[in-house]
């Protein structure tokens, strides 16, 4: 129909053009008249379609509830949604008719009728809006009508909306995480969450059950996250930095051409693969080595250790650190190096005393940017770090992290308003704030201390 509108508008403009003496006498090319007609046909009906889709569920549910007998509603006080769900299930054949009470079957038959009417009405409304829209433009087409400007305006609008999706996403994240977190903090005080030392979010399935009050002190998670991230950074920062230095200052082209892509492959390996590797190979290896060294006498050695997760995560971050450092090292002007070399320094002295100080802000920024990666990394820790919320600094013990808990709290079917699920959003909020903070700090450092050489 949109295509039809396009051709209608285009042919109308062509017809008018022949009247006034040819295409050159039109304000815009025929294409634009067609495009404008098509746009007026498509966009209003699409908007209606979207709004309709969001709204119709609400109205239909209300109609169904009105359909149900009073007695049934009283029976399941406050669980209207449940009944409506049953009606839907029966109508879609998920639930066999024989099992449902009569009033549900009746309501489901009614629902089918309503749904059919809903679809028909929607189709008719959208079609007529589309036709009206295109007619509106079609009538307006005259030789003086500035179709091109209108089309370009619409085009610019589309571009602008696309650009704003980034803002919408951020707003969406903030709202989704913040609202759920506020709900959580009405149930669990924020001080307990941030400073409590005990994490065991098991809620009662039935009332009065033993150990029904879950405790939501997130300190063990924060410590676990920082421990693993610290191990990862201890691995990644020196290796990544030295690799970048060697590649940009010492290695000749041939080695560079081979080694750089190989290191970049490390960045392209999916995290779930690293997680599998950590759990299957590295963790048992570290445990055996720990026991072999006789460390099990005076500390806990777990099969899922912080060290395994941290080491593998470090390997994952190496290319990130090295490519960022590579950029800043290359940005240090050659004249500085030549000057230092000319004064008789060895190469390593040039690097240590001239290049690195000049590149330091950039390198610091890169390290700060690698931080969120380590903190927010999920799959490696889910697969290799374990679930036990131990408050420990022992890298051979099993620890849990913020991301692991988010995953374990949210995977599977849960009641959405239980503190358990809400706690995951609160953890998400902490993670989001920390990431943004680190990112902001990194950009700030890079901007403030960057030396301008040209």
């Amino acid at each position: 129909m949109v295509a039809l509108a396009f051709f209608a508008g285009r042919s109308r403009s062509l017809a008018i053009a022949t009247n006034v003496g040819g295409i050159p006498y039109l304000n815009s090319l025929p294409f634009y008249y067609g495009a404008l007609t098509a746009v007026w046909c498509a966009i209003p009906s699409l908007v209606v379609l979207l709004i309709w889709n969001f709204a119709d569920n609400y109205f239909i549910s209300n109609m169904i509830v009105a359909e149900l007998p009073e007695s049934a509603l009283e029976l399941v006080e406050g669980k209207k949604d449940l009944l409506v769900n049953q009606v839907y299930n029966v109508a879609e054949g998920i639930m066999p008719r024989e099992m449902a009470p009569d009033y549900i079957v009746a309501a489901s038959e009614r629902l089918e009728v309503i749904l059919w009417w809903n679809r028909m009405l929607l189709a008719v409304v959208c079609l007529s809006i589309g036709i009206l829209g295109s007619l509106f433009v079609w009538m307006k087409i005259t030789p003086k009508f500035k179709a091109r400007l209108h089309v370009e305006g619409v085009f610019l609008g589309v571009l602008f909306v696309s650009a704003c999706i980034a803002i919408l996403t951020t707003v969406g994240i903030v709202f989704s995480v913040l609202f759920e977190s506020i709900k959580f903090f009405t149930k669990v005080p924020i001080t307990e969450f941030l400073f409590g030392l005990e994490w065991s979010p098991q809620m009662a399935i039935r009332e009065g059950q033993q150990g029904s009050s879950g405790s939501f002190g997130a300190v063990p998670l924060f410590v676990g996250t920082l421990l693993i991230a610290a191990i990862a950074m201890i691995v990644a920062v020196p290796t990544g930095l030295m690799s970048a230095i060697y590649l940009s200052e010492y290695a000749d082209r041939r080695i560079r051409d081979w080694v750089k892509p190989a290191l970049e492959v490390l960045a392209g390996v999916p995290t779930v693969v690293y997680g599998f590797f950590a759990a299957l190979t590295v963790a048992p290896f570290i445990r055996d080595m720990g026991i072999g060294l006789g460390l099990d006498g005076f500390m806990t050695i777990s099969s899922e250790s912080a060290l395994a997760a941290g080491l593998v995560m470090g390997v994952m971050i190496i290319p990130f650190v090295s490519s960022l450092s590579d950029d800043v090292i290359n940005a240090v002007p050659q004249s500085l190096r030549d000057g230092a070399l000319g004064l008789g320094s060895t190469r390593s002295e040039v690097i240590k005393q001239v290049v690195l100080p000049a590149a330091l802000p950039g390198i610091m920024g890169g390290i700060l940017l690698a931080g969120p990666r380590a903190i927010g990394e999920t799959m490696i820790v889910v697969m290799a770090a374990g679930l036990a919320a131990n408050l420990t600094m022992n890298p051979l013990d099993s620890v849990t992290t913020v991301t692991v808990q988010i995953v374990t709290l949210l995977v599977g079917d849960q009641e959405f308003n239980s503190p358990k699920t809400l706690a995951a959003f609160a953890l998400g909020l902490v993670l989001f704030i920390v990431t943004l903070g680190l990112n902001y700090l990194a950009l700030h450092i890079v901007k403030k201390y960057r030396e301008q050489y040209d």
Binding site: T170, L263, G268, V273, K352, M379, L410, N439
Partner: protein, 427 residues
Amino acid sequence: MTKAVSTQAELVERSLKKRYRAEKRFKIAGIISISVGIAALFALFIEIFGNGIGGFSQTKIKLDIVLDSEELEIYDVNNEEEVSNGYYEGVIRLALRKKFPEVKSRGDRRKLYSMISDGASYRLRDLVMADTSLIGQTKTFWFLADDDFDTYFKTLLDGDPYTARVDEKQRAWVDQLIEEGNIEKGFNTAFFTSGDSSEPELAGILGAVIGSLLTLAITLALSFPIGVAAAIYLNEYAPKNRLTELIEVNIRNLAAVPSIIFGLLGLAIFINLFGMPRSVPTVGGLVLTLMTLPTIIMSSRAALEAVPPSIREAALGLGASKMQTILHHVLPLALPGMLTGAIIGMAQALGETAPLLMIGMVAFIVDVPSWFTDSATVLPVQIFLWSDSPERAFVEKTSAAIMVLLLFLIFMNTMAVLLRKKLERRW
């Protein structure tokens, strides 16, 4: 004076050795760092390949099946229900008993029956239902072995048998089968043609691969146009004001937000607020779109910046409007760079697991999805699920699935590199 100079020279001379040693140490540290990275890469690949290669083959056992209608309890071959409810397990058990007549006790028989995969009777049923004339005949079939035997047989062939799950008697049966030539290792077709299963020998990746493709299709269809449009706006139209700055800061920040946060967004907004269903590729695609958008916008902007201003000025000078300049001249020139960025973004999305766990794409789904609104899982999530399974046979399945995933990623990245090489222009 000369003395002072000579001492200074001597000083330098003496310190030189130490300085050269420091130089050498520094260089070696660099080489070690690089070796650590490369060694980790090799260890990873060798481990995955070593484990995964076995996942592509499968042990099969030859049995002569007597499709006796009496045993099958099928008396009317035209009655579809009766044929489908036939006692196929029974005829397979009968064949096993005939092959090993010395097995008498109940416990031993149960062990014997466990040699053949649970899927065998379903396969037999499908064959019979497709061709009912088979009933009454004696046919030879190769059936899949159960995963414990599969692992034992494969490790036996490699010379280092894994015996933890098979006992003395079962090993003797396998030896007998080997002697008679009734057991062999073949290509694992089920791995590529079926969905997930709780039986390792029946589990395949087709469902996950299709799920991944459907999810990626949504992601590409949304993120590429939106990303390119946003890049055009920011590079060509945006006035220098607070709003533009806000957009740019947002894009940079979103690129650094951990992927799991996008999963939380998807769960709270798409599933709870908009009421979309869980575990469907559409929602997965939406979440991944938001996640890859910053990557695509940034690479598209770089591609737009690489188009020299002279092109724009020439078009504008000839009377083209700004939109015509961009759509007819700048965009076609920038497109190869944008496509490269899009492929890299898609590769990132293909390997992503965490946000999809949040929106429920982690369910155990046997059926191969056929449309965007079917319940589905994706390849990385399938890998995660299998790696959690206790059966040893799933280790090689997991590794094999990882090999397939890596193959896809290598293919996509090579394509990106080739595309860039081929279409790149120097101005």
